[in-house]
């Protein structure tokens, strides 16, 4: 065949074939996508600090293990309230003349997805301790430690942010561990990662491949797995044994709040956070961020009251429902 014996024709054909397919599956869809999508109206652009933090995130190759995409499948529900859509990424542009756009969707989830990490884990204290060495707060973690984002100062200045690191994780240095601006930028970036609400009247795409739910909703909700909820939402700070972390996160084991009679305060802390004690970090509004229902709050309280030697009174979801309404009113009035 003439085509096969003429190198010009053969290789030109192969090139054109490949180039045409490339246009069809890569270039045209890419251009369409970037032209037909804009950021959501509610999207908050990255602050200057968060922008710098993103550069640090990129430089250290965090995307190797952390995705930033909530897929439209049921199993991804834990990473965000709705599946990610093209508009969520529309505001990503070329970084600078040297570097390409960092959309950072990722292809591996060796670590958790970060799409909504700003809501899930907003505590600055926790993030800093975790960055210094993840195993301080999550024993099983295999994430690298980033001690080079911190310095050691004998006498920290007023503006310095001191991070309370347990002695076991200090390599013999004296003085206080202080977060560098880079560490704070990175945390600012992580805190900025929140799923934007869709504009009113827009329905989010559905989560597919739903798990088959058993037909006993009411009872099932009451018997929610308090332990799993605790592991997913509370454990990173208060630890699996409820002992907390000295100087950062208070213990729940034997805690007067957990065991005490003031259920209103307990629920308030879970739903709206807490910052009354100087020796510990600020607790974020975990319950509100994660849209806890009264069933979930009750399950967590019951788990905390019956673990690690705690022996408190069990609560019911109805009880919690009433308190939650009261607390919500109070917060609204403030």
């Amino acid at each position: 065949m003439e085509l096969f014996d003429n190198h010009k024709k053969l290789f030109t054909t192969a090139f054109l074939f490949f180039a045409a397919l490339t246009m069809f599956v890569a270039i045209i869809p890419a251009i369409n996508n970037q032209n037909s999508n804009a950021a959501l109206p509610g999207a908050v652009p990255l602050s200057a600090d968060a922008e710098k933090g993103k550069a640090i995130f990129v430089a250290n190759g965090c995307v190797a293990c952390h995705t930033q995409q909530v897929r439209n499948v049921d199993m991804d529900k834990m990473w965000g309230g709705r599946p990610s859509i093209a508009a969520d990424y529309a505001d990503n542009h070329r970084t600078d003349i040297w570097r390409n756009t960092a959309t950072l969707m990722g292809t591996e989830r060796t670590g958790p997805d970060l799409t909504d990490i700003g809501n899930r884990q907003p505590s600055v204290d926790w993030n800093l301790v975790h960055l210094y060495n993840p195993r301080i707060v999550v024993k099983e973690s295999i994430m690298p430690a980033y001690p080079w984002l911190f310095t050691v100062k004998a006498e920290p200045g007023k503006k310095d942010i001191v991070v309370n690191i347990p002695a076991a994780y200090r390599t013999g240095q004296q003085g206080k561990v202080v977060a560098t601006p880079e560490a704070l930028y990175l945390v600012a970036y992580l805190q900025s990662l929140k799923q934007t609400k869709l504009p009113d009247g827009t329905t989010a795409p559905e989560f597919l491949y739903k798990r088959a739910e058993t037909q006993k909703d009411a009872t099932a909700l009451q018997e929610l797995d308090g332990k799993a909820l605790y592991t997913a939402n509370c454990q990173t700070c208060h630890q699996a044994g409820g002992e907390g972390l000295q100087g950062a996160f208070p213990p729940l084991k034997g805690s007067p709040v957990v065991m005490g009679e003031n259920l209103e305060m307990y629920v308030d802390i879970i739903m709206h956070g807490y910052d009354a004690r100087a020796e510990y970090g600020v607790m974020p509004a975990v319950g509100t961020n994660m849209n806890f229902t009264e069933h979930e709050v009750a399950a967590i309280i019951n788990y905390e009251r019956s673990s690690w030697g705690n022996q408190g009174k069990k609560v019911s979801a109805e009880e919690i429902k009433k308190i939650m309404d009261v607390v919500k009113l109070k917060v609204a009035q403030e």
């Binding site: 599956v25 970037q34 250290n60 965090c62 834990m78 599946p83 597919l208």
Partner: protein, 712 residues
Amino acid sequence: MHLRKFFWIVLFGALMILPPFTKAQEQVPSKFSLGSNSALTIILFLVVLALFFAVLVLNEKAKQIRQTGKKPVDFKKLKTYAGALSSKQINTVLSLRKKSRQGSVNAVPAILFITLLASSSSAYAQTQGQPAPASLLGETGVIITLILLFIPILAGVIILIIKLVNAIKQYKNSASREEAEKLAAYLKTMPEDEAQQLLVKKKKALDYRLQNNELSGNIAAEDDKGLINLNDSNGLPLVATKKKAVKRPNINPQLSRLVLWYLGCATFWLLFGTTIGEYLGIKFVAPDADHVSWLSFGRLRPVHTNAVFWGWASLAMLGLGYYVVPRVSNTSLASIKKGWYTLYLINAAVILGSLCLMAGINNGGGEYREYIWPVMLLFGAGLAITLVNFLQTIARRTTREIYIANWYIVSSIIFAIVISVVAYVPYWQNGLGETIVQGYYMHQGVGMWFMLFTLGIVYYFLPQQLNKPIYSYSLGILAFWAQILFYTLIGTHHFVFSSIPWWLQTVAIVGSAGMAIPVIAGATNFIMTFKGAWYKIKDSYTIPFFVVGIIFYFTGSMQGTAEAFRSTNLIWHFTDFTVAHSHLTMYGIICFFLWAAIYAVVPRLTGREAPQIAIGAHFWLALIGLLFYTIPLMYGSTLKGWLWMQGKPFIEGVVLMAPYWLWRAIGGSLMWLSHLFFAYNMYRMLVSPGIIEVKETAIQQLELENNTIQTA
């Protein structure tokens, strides 16, 4: 003899089938005690009917045999027998004929007794077969009774068959004996001249033997073309001795030097890249191994992937390409100088790129395009120079057609340049545009650059090492175009369920399924090339590498197809399954093929071979290491994906993976160890050992003496 064997097999088979059959019959009533009585009746009736017919057929056959009458004496047949006698038999006949004629053989046919027996047993079977159960069914007791009846019926039929077979045999024997009698008489009474003609002459012919010197004569053999190559190593070998590589004459030493430099640099990058990979594997088990920013996981991971991609595999491929392209064009390389430029540029790209990545300068996160554009531009320029060089070489080829290896090699370079341009030009990379391009780029890099080029290398070296042509040129062409068609589409299957357009995801999945065509075509082509040459595996130290490469080419590629479907994406996406898959393919296919080609070509260029035991160690450590690496990782990540689907807390998946990550580190260590052996083998093949070789030294001494005599 055959018949007998066959019937024994049938009998054995029947006995094997019988117990489960009866068991099934027993289970039926307990399961469907009321509903399916009629079905049961029908089954039983059919079985009995079948048995009845079998008996009738057998009886008919027996009758036929009994009725076969005696035939008249057939002299023609007897003559044929006499002509087919062996030398020894003729000898006996001739000596007997000399003696007086006396005595005769008497055979008593036993056929009557046998047929009687056969008919009686068939009669017995008939009577037993008659009571066909038609009513009273449904009661367990009745069913059991029927089964109990059925057993002796079956046994009776089996006995009948055996007896009948024996009867047939005996009848045939008696007929043969009769014929033998006639033959003996014929041989005895044969006239003398006929006996001379038929027997004595025949005996002479049968006794003829070659002297073994009809063609060679009586002169001693001489190997004046140097064709005979004896392995002169004596003593007990530690490993089986394989065929030595044949030194290739007429390779331009300059080209040879270029190729060797490419392969040498590639070996360095393999060691460098996999040392880092090994360290990364260890970090999964010991995350606090170091706290140095330049060595942190996120920065080192792309250093590993890019070094083995652009440093090791690309340089090795190009080096082999510089050997293959001019060879199959039957001409010399257009420019050796340009070949060196590419080598410099690519080495510079990998050095600079690795340093940039460790310093925290990268392109923004897309896999395999972590090098920033100024670095990747060096690589691209290197490719462009080689493309021009190869095209010019092919343009001056002295063959009419372009051998298929060159299709693959040159096209892969064209495509690699195209994908680099698409990946680095910024106009379509905002937002999800970046992701779509990323999916396209990362998979085309693998499939259109590494896979296509390597296939080109295999199309040259596999037939060469097997010393036979490729099985089908057409299959190679089919695979070529099918690969372009389907592979180009599949990039976005890395983003299934993401927010890129659903239709694009579907196209990618369809393309992944279509990949079965080029993969099956290619694998079939390679396997069929082995047809009639499988024995060469044991004589060669290169062919085992090809075999492993072909196996992984099929399994690894088809695994990619399996992973692309939506249902499998649910379980495996985002887990370490992807890592296992990429190692099965990039390592199992690409590396094994490259090693095979390197072990084939380097001894031809240098005249030195690596020790076979070190090559064996390389092969086995790499193969076993790869399996240790990938299998636990695939198993563990399947469990992890399942855990995720159950909505379990994320950290449980991390805990679950710990043992599998340890296995990965162990497998990775074995792979890394194999690369040390490979590097040593390269050293042995490249560098003169500096040991005094007796024959060579003697010749040199003679030359020296000769020179001194001449000058004196």
